[in-house]
Symmetry: C2
Subunit: 436 residues, 2 copies
C-alpha cells in the first residue's frame, strides 16, 4: 500500500474487547464492519486493538489509541455480568464518574423482562435486577444510545474535551449495527470526524497474474504518470485464493487519475482483470449464468458439495443451479452419475477421464447446459508419487459436447486444496461463460 | 471470564500487519492460532494490535506491546515488495541496523526460482532480484528462521537486551505455522517465555441450554465450592451457532477443582453436555460413525451441499460419507432422489414430508445406513406467511425404517440459516448415533 494522499485523513481507532475474540474462539465481525462504515465517511481506521476482559488491558488500549486518533470506538463488554467492564473503564479513562440513570434503568428492565418472557427457564429476579442496574450506570455527561438489545451504547467525552471522545458500542453485531446510525447523529461523534472528506473507492479483481506482475505494472504507471500518492490515489493490493484484489481510495478530484490507473491494469492484465466494478467472481458467475440463460449441475468428489454450496450462496441461484451430486465414494460416482466402474478401475478415480465422466453424467442426469466434475486428492492421506496430495482434476462439459478440462496442483492442506479448487472452478465457469 | 489465577502468567503480544486485515477484506487466522499455541505453553496473549501497512503505526504498535510483554510476535509484511516493511521497522525499534545476508539471499533466490518455474508468466528478472535482495536484508544479531515460502522469519533482540525480543513471522498461515516450530527452538524466544508454567486446559461443549443457565450453574457451583478464581480456575464461556463452549485453564494443582466443575456442569446439563474432552461435534459425529460402522448419504436443498462438505472436512470421512445429492430445484428432488412430483405439488417443497422423502431416497440410492434430507427457506426471498424465511425441515432416516424429523425456525439471514441448519444436522446425527 502507498501512503495516504495528503491531507492526512481523519483517523479512528477501534478497541475490540472479549477474551473469546482474543483467544480466537470467536472471530470479530465488528472491527471490519466499522472500518467499512468509517471508510465510506472518509475516516481511516488507524489501529485495532483486541483485548481480553482484563480492565488494565482495556485501559491501556484506550489510552494508546486516544493518543493519536480523533475518535475511539469500543465494542463489547456491556453485558449485565461483573466481567463486562467497558463502560466503567471508559469512564475512568475519560475522567467521568458513573451515575445510575434511573430512567434508563426502567427502560433496560422492560427490555430484559421482554427477553426473559421468551425463555423456558427464568433467571433469579435479584440476578436480573443487579444486571439491569449495572447496565444503567452511565458516565457523567455521556450521551446514551438507546439499547437495541439490553445494553445501551454511550458517547463519553473527556473532561474539558482534552482527549477524543469514546464511542461505546455493544458486542453483538445485531445490536451494534443499528446503534451505529444513532451514533452518527451524536454531536461529539460528528465533531470528531468533522472534516473527513468522503472518499471514493474502486475495487479491481484479477485472477492468475502473480503479485510481482502487479507491482511491475504499478511501477511502470508511476514512471509514466508520477507517483500514485501525488495523484491522490491510495492503493491497497492483496492476494488471496489466487485472486489479486486492488482497492483504490481517492478523493473525487482524483477520478481521472483513477481511471488512468484502471486503464493501465486493464492493458497489462487483459482478460485476467475480470472485475472492474468490485464484483466478486461469485456475483460475476451468477450474472453470466442469468445473461446466458444457462443452467449447471455439479458432481463433486474431494470438494464434496462445497462448490454447489458456494454457488447457492448467491440469492436467486436456483435460476441456474438445478442441483448436484456428491460422489465421494467410487460406488457413488457410478450410482449417481454413471461413471463406468471399469473406467475408475483402469485410470483411477482421480483422473481427467473420471472428471469428464462426472461432468457429463451430472449434466445428463439433470438436463442442464453445463456439468462440472471435480475429483482430487485433498489429503492428508491418499497421495501417491504420480497422484500427490493437492492434485485435482476438474472438467466442465457443455450440452453440445465440448469439454474444458483443468488440472490443478494445489497446496494449503486439506482445507486449502478444497477451497482453492472451488475458486478455480468458479473462474473456469466465468471464463467459459464469458468466451463461451 | 474470571481473572487469571496468580501467579501472573507470562504474556506475549501480537502485531498483525496488513491493510487488508485492518479493513476486514481478509480475516486474520494467525492471531488466534498463535494465541492457541502460546496458551498450551502457559503463555497468555495480552493484547493483539492490527495495523495497516503504514510504518508509523507498526512502530507505534511494537513500542506499545514491548512495554509490558515478555515477547512480541509480528505476522505479515515480509513479502518482496516495497510496502512489506516489517523487518525494517522491527530492526529500527530494536536498534539493529539491517545488513544483506548473502547466503540467505542465495537460498531465497533458489526458492523464488522454484516457485516461478510453476508459473505461466515469468516476472522480470530485475524485479525478482530486487525482491530477493529485500527479503535477505536481516537486522544485525537477528536469528534467521529458514523460509518455508520465500520469506525468512526473524528473531530480533533489542540492543543490550533492554526490551523483549520480537519474533517476526510471515503472513501466510502455511508459512507461519511450520516456522513456529523453529521459533520455539530459538534461545531468545525460549528465554522470553521461560517460567511460564504450562497450564492445563479443558474444554466442554453443550448444545441447547441458554447462556443464562450456564451462568446460574456457575453461581451455584461457586456458592457450594467457593469462587472459581480462588480454586485456580479461569473459565471462559462463549455461545456460537447454538453451542455453549466452556474453556477452563488451570494449573496442574487445580485438577480436582476442575473435575468438580465438570461434574457440576454434567449434572446440570445432562446429555446436552455432549463433549467433555473438547471434541467438536464434527469430530464426535465422525467417531460415532466409525464406532457404529454406519454410513450416510445426504440430500440437501437450501444448504445445497454444505452439510456433505462439512462432513467431508474430517479426514477419513470417506469411511462413512458415501455421497450425497444437491436437490436444489424441484425437478432435481424428483430426478435425483425420487421425491414424487405430486407430493411436492401437494405439500410443497419445504415440508416434513419432502424432507423425509429426500432422506429415504438418498439412503436408498446409495444403500447407506442413514439418509438425511434438508429442505427449507434460506431467504432472502421465497418466504410466505405459513412458510417464513428461516423455516427448515430436516429428516434423518435409518435403513430399518425409523425416521427422526426436525423442524427448525432460524434467523441470521441466508448465510446464518444455512450454517445453523448444518450445525443442527450434525447434532441430530450425534444424538441419534449416540442413543441410536
Amino acid at each position: 500500500m502507498t501512503h495516504s494522499p495528503t491531507p492526512q485523513p481523519v483517523r479512528a481507532g477501534i478497541v475490540v474487547t472479549g477474551t473469546e475474540v482474543l483467544t480466537g474462539r470467536v472471530s470479530d465481525a465488528n472491527g471490519p464492519w466499522l472500518a467499512e462504515q468509517l471508510r465510506t465517511l472518509g475516516v481511516d481506521v488507524g489501529r485495532i486493538v483486541v483485548v481480553g476482559d482484563r480492565p488494565d488491558d482495556l485501559e491501556s488500549a484506550l489510552r494508546y489509541l486516544l493518543a493519536d486518533h480523533r475518535l475511539v470506538i469500543t465494542t463489547g463488554g456491556l453485558g449485565p455480568t461483573a466481567d463486562d467492564l467497558t463502560a466503567e473503564v471508559v469512564a475512568r479513562v475519560q475522567g467521568r464518574p458513573v451515575r445510575l440513570d434511573e430512567s434508563l434503568e426502567r427502560r433496560v428492565a422492560a427490555r430484559v423482562e421482554e427477553l426473559n418472557r421468551r425463555r423456558e427457564r427464568q433467571p433469579a429476579p435479584e440476578v436480573v435486577a443487579a444486571g439491569v442496574r449495572k447496565q444503567a450506570m452511565v458516565p457523567e455527561q455521556a450521551a446514551v444510545l438507546e439499547p437495541v438489545g439490553t445494553a445501551p451504547g454511550l458517547v463519553v467525552t473527556a473532561v474539558g474535551d482534552a482527549a477524543a471522545p469514546v464511542l461505546v458500542l455493544p458486542g453483538p453485531p445485531g445490536e451494534l449495527r443499528p446503534m451505529w446510525e444513532d451514533a452518527l447523529r451524536d454531536r461529539a461523534v460528528l465533531g470528531a470526524i468533522e472534516g473527513a472528506g468522503a472518499l471514493r473507492q474502486g475495487t479491481l479483481r484479477a485472477y492468475g497474474p502473480p503479485e510481482s506482475e502487479l507491482a511491475a505494472l504499478l511501477r511502470d504507471h508511476e514512471a509514466a504518470h508520477g507517483s500514485l500518492e501525488s495523484a491522490g490515489l491510495e492503493v491497497t493490493t492483496c492476494l488471496r485464493e489466487g485472486e489479486l484484489e486492488v482497492v483504490t481510495r481517492y478523493r473525487p478530484d482524483a477520478q481521472t487519475a483513477y481511471e488512468r490507473l484502471v486503464e493501465t491494469l486493464h492493458d497489462g492484465f487483459g482478460a485476467a482483470l475480470y472485475s472492474r466494478d468490485g464484483a466478486s467472481v461469485d456475483q460475476t458467475v451468477a450474472a453470466l449464468f442469468r445473461e446466458a440463460g444457462a443452467t449447471v449441475a455439479t458432481a463433486e468428489s474431494c470438494t464434496a458439495g462445497l462448490l454447489a454450496g458456494r454457488l447457492a450462496d448467491v440469492p436467486g441461484s436456483s435460476a441456474y443451479l438445478l442441483g448436484g451430486f456428491v460422489t465421494y465414494a467410487n460406488e457413488a460416482k457410478t450410482a449417481e452419475v454413471g461413471v463406468p466402474a471399469d473406467l475408475i478401475e483402469r485410470v483411477g478415480a482421480v483422473s481427467a477421464e473420471v472428471a469428464e465422466a462426472m461432468a457429463r453424467g451430472a449434466r445428463e442426469r439433470l438436463g442442464t447446459t453445463y456439468g462440472i466434475g471435480i475429483t482430487g486428492v485433498a489429503g492428508p492421506g491418499g497421495g501417491t508419487a504420480d497422484k500427490p496430495v493437492g492434485l485435482v482434476h476438474v472438467c466442465l462439459a457443455h450440452e453440445d459436447g465440448r469439454t474444458w478440462p483443468l488440472r490443478l496442483q494445489l497446496g494449503g492442506g486439506r482445507a486449502g486444496v478444497r477451497q482453492r479448487t472451488v475458486v478455480a472452478c468458479l473462474h473456469l465457469l466465468r471464463e467459459v461463460l464469458t468466451t463461451g
